[in-house]
Symmetry: C2
Subunit: 236 residues, 2 copies
C-alpha cells in the first residue's frame, strides 16, 4: 500500500517519495546528523519513510554515485568515510572548479545577485549565532549559489557534489559541528565580486578554500547512536 498521496488544493497528486527520501538523507548527512560510518539498513529506512526496499535501494545508489555513502557488496550502505587522500583530491578539485566560478562570475554578476548573496550570508550569520544545525548546510549553500550564478549547470552540479562531500570530510577530520566557513570571508568574496575586482575575488576565494582545507586536519570523534531516532527528525 502506498500512502504517498495528498491533496494540494486542486488535484490529488502523488509526491515522489524517492525524491523526498533522497533530500532527507542528503540533508541528514550534510548536517552531520548521520555521521561517517553510520550504517544505513535498507529496511529501517524503508519503514521510516513508508516505502519498500526497492525505493530505498535506488536512492542509496544515487547517493553512492555522488560519493556521500559507501556501498559494500552484501554488507549494505554506510555514510561515506573519505580517506585523507580522497579528502585532498576533493578539496583540490573543488578549488579548481570554484576558481573558475569566480572568474566567470566577476564578469557577469548582477546587482540583484549581489543582493541575493548578501541576504544569504545574513542568514548564515543568524544560523551561526544561534548554533542551528542549518549553519553547516547554509555555509555550503553559499558556494553552491555562487556556482549556479556562474551559469554553467555542469560545473554547478560538480561543485554541489564536492561541497557536500566536504561536509563529510569536516565531520571526519575537522572539529565537531563546525561549518569551517568563516562568514566574514564569504562577505569579502561578495564585496570583491560587487566591485568587479577579479584579482581580489580570486585571491579571497582561494585563500578561503585553502583555509578550509587546512582546518580539516584534526581529531575525529566516535559515536554510538540510534539511526531510528535520528531519522525521526528527517522523515517528512
Amino acid at each position: 500500500m502506498n500512502e504517498q498521496t495528498l491533496t494540494t488544493g486542486k488535484k490529488r497528486q502523488r509526491l515522489p517519495s524517492s525524491n523526498t527520501m533522497y533530500e532527507a538523507l542528503r540533508r541528514a548527512i550534510i548536517e552531520q546528523a548521520l555521521r561517517p560510518g553510520d550504517k544505513l539498513p535498507e529496511d529501517v529506512i524503508g519503514d521510516r519513510f513508508g516505502v519498500s526496499r526497492t525505493i530505498v535501494r535506488s536512492v542509496l545508489g544515487r547517493l553512492h554515485g555522488e560519493g556521500l555513502i559507501d556501498l559494500k557488496p552484501n554488507r549494505g550502505a554506510t555514510v561515506a568515510q573519505p580517506t585523507l587522500e580522497q579528502a585532498y583530491d576533493i578539496f583540490e578539485t573543488r578549488r579548481s572548479l570554484e576558481r573558475d566560478v569566480v572568474r566567470r562570475l566577476v564578469e557577469r554578476i548582477t546587482p540583484a545577485e549581489v543582493k541575493q548573496l548578501k541576504d544569504h550570508v545574513a542568514r548564515e550569520e543568524a544560523a551561526r549565532t544561534q548554533d542551528s544545525p542549518d549553519s553547516i548546510r547554509l555555509a555550503g549553500e553559499f558556494h553552491i549559489l555562487l556556482a549556479e550564478m556562474a551559469g554553467n549547470a555542469v560545473t554547478a552540479r560538480y561543485v554541489n557534489e564536492l561541497v557536500s562531500r566536504c561536509s563529510l570530510i569536516l565531520a571526519l577530520y575537522g572539529r565537531p559541528h563546525s561549518s569551517d566557513c568563516a562568514v566574514s570571508e564569504h562577505l569579502e568574496i561578495v564585496a570583491a565580486l560587487q566591485k568587479g575586482d577579479s584579482e581580489k575575488a580570486f585571491a579571497v576565494m582561494d585563500h578561503h578554500l585553502e583555509a578550509v582545507t587546512e582546518r580539516a586536519l584534526l581529531t575525529s570523534s566516535n559515536h554510538q547512536r540510534d539511526i531510528r531516532s535520528i531519522l525521526d527528525d528527517y522523515v517528512k
Copy 2:
C-alpha cells in the same frame, strides 16, 4: 535463474552481471552504436543480458547519474540528447578540468608514463586508419589516461564522465562517426609533456579542446535501427 556463474580455474565465482551490463551499454553509447534518442526498454535489455528488470533499472539509474541517458517518468530511458547549451557547459567544464590536469602532469610525469601515452596514441592511429569503431573510444581514453596520471581520482572521474558525454555531443552535432580528436594533436601534447614545456602543453591542450568544441557544430543525422541487433554485439 541466474546464468552468471563460471569457473575461472580455482573457484566458481559470480561475475557481477550489473557491471558487465553497465560496461556494455556504456561502450555501446560511447562508440555511437546506440545513438542519442534511442529508446532503452527495460525488458528488451534485461532479456538480452539474461537479468531481470530490477538490475536493468539500477544500471540505467547509474548511467543517468553520469549524464549518458535521459530518464523521463513513466516513459523510460533514452540515450541522452544534450541540448546545445548543455553541450557548451560540458565542453567548458571539461576544458577547465583538463587545463588543471596538464598543469599537474607537467610536474610529475615519468618516462614510463610518456611511453604509455605514446603507445596509446599508436593504438589510436591504428584504429583510425582501419576505421574501427574503437577509434572514438580510444581518442577519449587518451584524455582519461592523462587525467588518471595526474593523480587526482576525483578529477579523473569527472573528466571520464565529461569525455563520455562529449561522444554524445559529437554524435548529435558533429559529423557522423568521427572522433574529432586529431591524433597528431595528441602526439603534440605528449611531446610537450615529455619536454616539461608547461606553456606549450597547456596551449596545445587548450587549442585541441577548442578545436573539438568548434567542430561540434554541424548537422545531425537521423536513424532507425533495431536495438536488439545492435546489442547482439555487446552482450557478453
